[in-house]
Symmetry: C2
Subunit: 348 residues, 2 copies
């Protein structure tokens, strides 16, 4: 799913403008669509195409069906100096997530660290964007989100938890933050969806059918379940994410979160959780950066090992070298059809 | 490593008193030994015997060798309302950890959430104790610790990171918190040590030799490395723990953390990181408890599935039913020898 061969590179600016115009044509508010477009294209720029503009058809379908409040009016509830709760007003998750993570950054700048929970939100894409936003401010960031149930608890065969991702970023002096971003399932949901679209088989150990037997056909995952990452440990981490994002915020819990792919009656009601810690409060930022490089050097001592996030930074350098993002034909075709149906010109 | 057959149950009070007397005889301060004894016996009571009084011989060896500052004088550095750094003064890790987690709880009670980093500390045992201490106060707790390098980064063959555990707890109305406590390695270090002691083979996929080839002999792990949990994801989580506990606190980083088993020249210089979030600030505690049970019910809908921490609570109920803790002969013999060498009477 990473072959991008057939078209010339589209600059990030043009791609963002295109994404925003399509979203607006589908009913989005211009300002909020701006955030969504930026975040989608950020993912394309960093090589995570299945979290990029490939999402536009689904987002537009939900916008056109009135399933997002747009513009939404997120209510930021000041619960304590280091804690806020954000009611996302059923807005587009990317926008709500951006508002919430900025709230966490602002509070951490004041009191050193802050936790911000979010309810009544929707799919917000890859968490890497949000933790990198924290790291860009020289802070340490954690982000989590619950999602609709796809993953069986360890020892069970029914889906109870979402792929419930967890992300972390730490800044480096060269700007290339360490970015950890992982599903607590054996595979990310977006990878299953993309594999199903491409008709590719899943590796063993990713999914089971409703009787708990191993399967490799991504199209059958909907009737079965994904397995948690590494058995009991991934299950435990997924449950932690569900507690922080679902239970503790007032968002949907387990089947209370709805599938954006299958439920076209209601909003997703998913929840997110962000933590920002101001690195400069812990020690002078220069010292922190020096200490980060001690760790990086220790890792580099192992030949062939990459830092978490390094693949993204390499992809980002390629994007810059290419002067923008290149797409495979399937993505180009899908976006061309979408643009046509909304009367928007394509950048290719 | 969980057969406890040969002796009658020792009450928790007597076991704690015994642990404390042995520690004092080896040179520990009475007050600080009290915390260490409580935490060791907490682990025995919850069935985690390899984090219990089985640790006493090693702790006493390090105490007698003057490798702990005891009493230590942890310096709590107030960095911001929601952030403190604790210099553990090279004290016993269990004591330093208890002081630091209480600092996180106290700060979260004031400003809603708090992060407390710890440097210049030592092995603090299972993190489950510390997060449960947070959950007992009705708060949500996170704990992490770095440790001496045993784990190869994904794709490498040299140990660079510790087993770097990560723990989380969330309170429930019935008092039986959800307790997540996992090594970011494919196995906990204490399980390897115990397997080596018992001469048991490790499962496949846990460890490699120095050339990166799979091994199952626990005695050979010291010359090779453990693998991270689930490959790249466990590696990324272990690196996150190293950044928060090592880089961001001023503690040892990677090989800057020393093995308590092998280095008898210096303190461990390990670091810890605690986050406490006051649940009652997010929503009324009653509502949180109701919502927790919605999630628990969703999990229970899967037959045969346990909650993280449920095994501990079952072990705890067994301990209560038995009137205390029962030990296997090997543990009893080792503790009897230790007690004899320090002139302390055993409780059996």
């Amino acid at each position: 799913m990473n072959e991008h061969t057939n078209t010339q590179a589209i600059t990030l600016d043009r791609l963002t403008a295109f994404a925003v115009e399509v979203l607006i044509a589908a009913g989005a508010d211009r300002v909020q669509a701006g955030d969504v477009g930026n975040i989608l294209v950020w993912n394309n720029a960093f090589g995570r195409h299945n979290q990029g503009v490939w999402r536009l058809p689904l987002l537009c379908k939900r916008l056109s069906a009135g399933l997002f409040q747009c513009p939404c009016n997120p209510r930021i509830d000041d619960r304590a100096p280091a804690v806020a709760l954000v009611d996302g007003d059923n807005g587009m998750g990317h926008y709500v997530g951006r508002v919430a993570v900025d709230e966490a950054i602002e509070r951490a700048a004041k009191v050193g660290a802050a936790a911000v929970g979010v309810c009544n939100s929707n799919f917000l894409g890859a968490l890497g964007y949000y933790v990198q936003r924290i790291a860009e401010r020289g802070m340490l960031g954690l982000a989590m989100s619950n999602s609709f149930p796809k993953v069986a608890p360890h020892g069970g065969a029914k889906p109870v938890l979402g792929t419930n991702p967890l992300a972390f970023a730490a800044p480096r002096r060269n700007g290339k933050s360490v970015i950890v971003d992982l599903a607590t399932a054996a595979s990310a949901g977006s990878d299953i969806t993309k594999a199903a679209e491409l008709g590719e088989a899943l590796p063993e150990g990713i999914a089971i059918d409703r009787d708990g037997r191993p399967i490799t056909d991504p199209a059958k995952v909907n009737e079965g379940a994904l397995l948690p990452l590494g058995g009991p440990k991934g299950y435990a981490l997924g449950l932690m994410v569900e507690i922080l994002c679902g239970v503790a915020t007032g968002a949907g819990i387990s089947h209370g979160v709805r599938s954006m792919y299958r439920d076209f009656e209601r909003g997703g009601d998913s929840g997110h959780f962000f933590v920002a810690i101001d690195t400069g409060v812990l020690m002078p930022l220069d010292m922190f950066y020096e200490r980060m490089e001690l760790l990086v050097d220790a890792i580099r001592d192992c030949e062939g090992v990459m830092l978490p996030g390094e693949g993204r930074w390499r992809a980002h350098a390629q994007t810059e070298a290419a002067g923008g993002v290149e797409f495979d034909e399937a993505t180009t075709d899908a976006l061309t059809r979408l643009a046509g149906s909304h009367g928007v010109a394509t950048p290719w």
